[in-house]
Symmetry: C2
Subunit: 462 residues, 2 copies
């Protein structure tokens, strides 16, 4: 790495690394983790199958896109052009809130990178190895751009939508054999399309699915345009009228290049254990620990005080009274009530029935969220969970978890990942038992797959 | 108009007006002006036919979109789905820099609104009258959002890309018979996709075409999604995590609703006379006046001092040495040199040959741009042109133009508009003489056209 370029032209330094990365450069743990992330993403996409916003986007794809093509829409099993496959799969894989997350960037890489690189790989008939490498590139780009844009960006912008566009673009550009210059153009065209505002949270609107769908599709579009000679700004990230200038007040260019080739974004990405917004997980883990250590039941709990970082208050704050399943996943009260009552908050717990359950309503009324300076200072590098539980007989227990379940250092085992994938595939019949077993096998052998053009049978699931 | 709603929920007030607007509500001058804007846009789109970025986007449309459909791609004469017709026509109609502009918002409404509403109207088989009304709605939404976002927004963001997405969405949503609630959702989904950064100017990259293409296509996409029940944020403009919060520091919500139904955005839109960036026009007009009044020739000019507003320096500043035709249109020196030498800066003057012309190079070296507080204070409501010309024999002439040619108050006549359309259509053979005459006739009778599905013959132009 040329240190001068790194400092003066961080976009160029990053693009050069991304374009030049070869499969032989990847350490074995990077390869293995990427396969795990691929399976985890696939299962999340299947679980999003019957969600209303996903179905509306699938209808749009049918109206606006070609009726056949090389790329799979996993939820409908139709084939279409890569743009629309990326669009619909991007929408589908984020809706059950079980897809991966990178803590420092507060960014969900899988749901934007995999839809794009899978659609592109299927378009050009690339083997599993190239898909895997493209995913590594996409994660690296997206996570670094997200970290670069910083906390000020995340306060208003949905980083998965914005940084995600560049992650998708970088991965697809690598598949399309971009040299460093073409990679810069792909990032330039992606950055100037990057969008996504948190305002929708207040109304529980469908925009979250639009953000992931469009990040995947727009990033893919940027990469194809760059391949054909369409140019983009050379300093889209750090330039005077670039992304940081317009959308951040604490951007740190060092995040774009520090430790390139030594640290790997895929190894710093967390799997989700609970089926809720990531900001609820540390508190959920801490509460679970308190329940187990002190043999508490929901009936004995008089009050729960969840200590959180500011971003948790920003994101979860507007949701005071969950009226939809999606809102429930963004309600700290709802999530902690599920943990208190059932010791889990998985995809099976977030149901329409649960929304009406008076027991849950009662417990969630005992939950309070408080800002904690120590937790906030550690965030987003570390997501600390701390809860104070007051019992009906006046005892107070404090429970703390330094690494939430699913984070690097407390990762899910392959058996746990397979189990999660099976549950996600079974949810609203996203795939049959045989199909998910085949996908699990495919994921664990991804680098040896010569052809990944038919992950699922063509016909519509009964 | 409910004054309470207007203040507390400006997005709702604007959306209600837009959704409820009927053809019968339009004053005759609004109808007539919209037909003029339509012709002016059509001709600009035809002139963009052979530009490289447009052709790359057309190739993308062929790869990603359907091979046939209801909507026309004007530059290739192919038919496809409305999304890709909006995309390619949006790219084509801005590249020769001859399309319309609204001064206060510093926003080019035609190039983002017409591609979207034409594609949508052709999709549903709407008559000319509905197209016209949808365009009025789109201009109203885009111009008001652009003015709302203000000058701080324009410093980093390309308002035509951002506000343009909402203009396109509003127009198409009206075509698709959105009620006020659906209109709010369309604006919400459009606003959360809104993007476009000026950073590309520094490198003369192709992003400007991407911005107009994507604004038209993304806005159209938002409208179709809203029709099918996809929801968006209710306060996407003024909300705490909405567009203004993320992308402006001087947003003024009154701009969204003041004088709705009394002032009309189409009547406040300017036609372009010179084929360059709008920020060069006031100075070009003032120089032209100086040449005529004082019978000056380029040889006698020793120095030209162009007095400008800050945004002119921001946008034109980075271009010091025009290397491409597109950059030349953003170079104050180049534009004023053309005026000094040829008394015009039309589409025929911006050529590859001109870039190499030593006479132009010599004159542009005598041009200086200076910030003028009075002009800046009047901007963007008024675009004042003022130049000081120093002659080789030491005379100094100051020339001032308060309303540049093409602005409301100094508008182009229908004969001038027809002449401009003919020249644009002839440029690189965008359309034949017979075809542009037919389009002129169609534009002047737009409100009586029952079918606008075939503006141009299907076959590729020889």
């Amino acid at each position: 790495m040329n240190l001068y370029i790194e400092e003066v032209e961080p976009t160029k330094a990053l693009a050069t690394f991304l374009a030049d990365l070869r499969y032989e450069d990847l350490p074995q743990p990077v390869i293995e983790r990427t396969k795990e992330l691929f399976l985890d993403w696939l299962a999340s996409a299947l679980a999003g199958r019957s969600a209303r916003p996903v179905q509306i986007l699938e209808r749009l794809a049918a109206h606006m896109g070609p009726a056949d093509g090389p790329s799979e829409i996993l939820v409908s099993r139709r084939r279409t052009s890569p743009l629309f496959a990326a669009l619909v799969n991007g929408a589908a894989s984020h809706i059950v809130e079980q897809d991966d997350v990178q803590n420092e960037a507060v960014f969900h890489p899988g749901t934007v990178v995999f839809p794009a690189v899978l659609a592109g790989a299927q378009d050009i008939g690339a083997p599993g190895r190239d898909l895997l490498l493209a995913a590594v590139v996409g994660y690296e780009a997206g996570v670094r751009v997200g970290a670069f844009l910083g906390r000020s960006h995340y306060r208003v912008f949905h980083t998965t939508g914005t940084a995600g566009t560049l992650g998708a673009a970088a991965g697809v550009a690598h598949l399309l054999k971009a040299d460093p210059q073409v990679m810069i153009h792909a990032l330039g065209s992606a950055g100037t399309q990057a969008a996504g505002l948190w305002e929708f949270l207040r109304d529980a609107a469908d925009s979250k699915q639009l953000h992931t769908a469009k990040a995947a599709a727009d990033g893919l579009l940027a990469a194809y345009l760059a391949r054909d000679g369409f140019t983009g700004a050379r300093h889209i990230l750090e330039g005077k009228q670039g992304m940081a200038a317009g959308m951040s007040s604490d951007a740190d260019p060092r995040k774009l290049t520090a430790g390139l080739g030594e640290r790997w974004a895929v190894l710093e990405t967390s799997f989700k254990f609970h089926a809720s917004c990531r900001h609820t997980h540390p508190s959920a883990d801490a509460l679970l620990q308190a329940l187990q250590e002190h043999q508490l039941t929901a009936e004995r709990i008089a009050h729960i005080r969840a200590h959180v970082h500011q971003a948790a208050i920003d994101v979860l704050g507007p949701v005071n009274d969950a009226r939809t399943v999606h809102q429930a996943k963004f309600s700290m009260g709802f999530v902690l009530a599920l943990i208190a009552l059932y010791q889990q908050a998985g995809i099976g717990e977030f149901t329409e029935e649960a929304l009406q359950d008076p027991r849950i309503r009662e417990v969630l009324g005992r939950v309070e969220m408080v800002f904690d300076p120590e937790i906030d200072a550690a965030y987003p590098r570390q997501w600390i969970g701390k809860v104070e539980v007051e019992t009906t007989d006046g005892e107070v227990f404090t429970s703390r978890v330094d690494i939430p379940k699913g984070d690097p250092g407390n990762i899910l085992t392959r058996a746990e990942l397979e189990d999660k994938a099976r549950r996600l595939a079974a949810y609203r019949q996203g795939a049959s038992a045989e199909e998910i077993e085949a996908l699990i096998t495919l994921a664990w052998t991804l680098e040896n797959q010569a052809d990944i053009r038919d992950l699922l049978p063509r016909e519509e699931l009964a």
